[in-house]
Symmetry: C2
Subunit: 313 residues, 2 copies
């Protein structure tokens, strides 16, 4: 009987690897650097070597390993092929399971990193117990992953769940990173919240602790917790935008639950207080009761989800 | 070898039934009235009787029938249960395959009527050849059905694809039928287009053929085809709203193609001329090339999709 699986989350700076038992408990986790020289040629050999070294260290036989799941930073199709390469590693188009499986002589599956993070939150995180969920990542940008009936919704070009670029504001004058104007990401990412805050502060001279120190998503929500009125206004605006955007998502895929993660979600439950009322205002009647939860796996969501590709079929 | 399947599309006034061969060709189609007396108790027995009579008429043996697919007007879960009943027939909560299968002694599968119409368009209609599509129905209201990897996206409450109530306009003063304000349906359904037209006509006295006769979605698009400037303005506004809404849908599920159906789509290709540019303006870069097509099955999409539940697994 197979006992173990590995979850691998490939990032532009480092590769996170986790060793999991069949129950989805992480037994060990570690990182190796992402060597981007020569078009990232050594990244997969490095991963294979690291996994084999760990097997030797722990006395794990290849026969005891169910397989290796991989999350990669790019659009990945249902067969694990990077359909447009992965720019920040230097990778072109190739099939990850075929190449990594060749080095390891183990079954390999691969998916997009945002999608496996969503899968991880479903399997062992804030969305545990649900099989229809949307994971929302509020970080430098806004990303997402959609799980339908326990499976990742990949989409035609691997862009399923790219909810950060839903158009949400007709009166925006600045461009989003994607070149469009008025994307959800421009108001609800960490940088988007700072934009909202700067605009609010420029509007009048109302006193607020936000005029001191460095503005950040964290400083805004810290001030909200202190009852700062200006910060509360900014949080309401953030919640209005995100609630409205997620209502559109709910009207499309009708999930059981939204799981909110990413750096901004470190603000905690207070975040949901501003998202949920706006969501319920804009959502279609059949979706108004959609649940909300915070992500719980943090930066480990990727290795959990990757291992889950193997263990949670 | 099984040779046939039946597709049943249950509406509030009549039930459409089609007899299909294994290649998805319709061999015969007919309608029976929907008897809503006694909470619709006789609807399923009537359907069973009609199917059995047709089998007798055509000399078809039960052994030659692969099964019966059913589309019902209400939220239907993955097991074919009407999760909140079907108000316009008077039905409560029950499992359609179990009840109808009991009368017929044949395998039965059931799904929501909007979703099976989408499935029909994928199988034999405007979306033939695609397995990731969004069907958009522009009728009295705006509905939709989403197919992911060849399967209907049902959603947690059977509300998957209910895109008509995506919030699209912050400055709306009138309520949608759903009680919210600014829903996609308020601008892009047949009635929504009439609303846009009335508002435009009230704005000034610019001459237009639309000031004569009865306003309808058809009269607007007929005038567009004649080059009427006011009608073109209305069509542009319609396209702007629908394109923006579908861009949000594409950013969520990333389909290969949108298939546009419903009464409004009878306007033909001219419709797409107003939807597509707006869509491409608002869509996320990875989704800008999503294709558009018109639905081709008209009112038969339901019986095709229902038969497809059986024949196209």
């Amino acid at each position: 009987m197979k006992k173990y699986a590995y979850g691998v989350d490939i990032g532009g700076t480092s590769v996170k690897i986790g060793l999991f038992d069949k129950d989805g408990c992480v037994l060990d986790k570690w990182e190796i650097p992402t060597n981007k020289e020569n078009g990232g040629d050594s990244v997969l050999p490095d991963i294979a070597e690291s996994i084999q070294a760990k097997m030797k260290e722990k006395g794990i036989d290849a026969d005891d390993v169910e397989g290796v799941g991989v999350g990669a930073p790019g659009a990945v199709d249902g067969e694990g092929t990077l359909v447009s390469g992965a720019v920040n590693i230097g990778w072109g188009v190739f099939n990850i399971p075929k190449v990594l499986g060749g080095y390891l002589n183990l079954p390999v599956e691969a998916a997009n990193d945002a999608n496996i993070a969503a899968f991880g939150e479903m399997w062992q995180g804030g969305g545990k117990g649900y099989s229809n969920l949307v994971a929302v990542t509020l970080g430098t940008g806004v990303g997402g992953g959609i799980i339908v009936d326990g499976k990742i919704l990949i989409g035609a070009n691997g862009a399923g769940g790219e909810i950060g670029h839903i158009h949400i504001e007709d009166n925006e004058t600045e461009n989003c990173n994607c070149k469009n104007k008025g994307c959800l990401e421009q108001y609800t990412s960490a940088t988007g919240i700072v934009r909202l805050a700067k605009r609010r502060l420029a509007k009048d001279d109302k006193p607020t602790v936000l005029r001191e120190g460095t503005l950040s998503a964290k400083s805004v929500f810290d001030a909200v917790k202190e009852g700062d009125e200006v910060a509360v206004e900014i949080a309401e605006q953030f919640g209005e935008y995100l609630g409205k955007g997620l209502a559109a998502v709910a009207g499309t895929v009708n999930p059981e639950i939204f799981v909110i993660g990413g750096g901004v979600s470190k603000a905690g439950e207070v975040l949901l207080k501003y998202i949920e009322p706006a969501f319920r205002k804009y959502a279609f009647v059949a979706c108004k009761d959609t649940k909300f939860a915070l992500a719980t796996l943090g930066n480990d969501a990727g290795i959990y989800g990757a291992a889950g590709l193997i263990l949670n079929k």
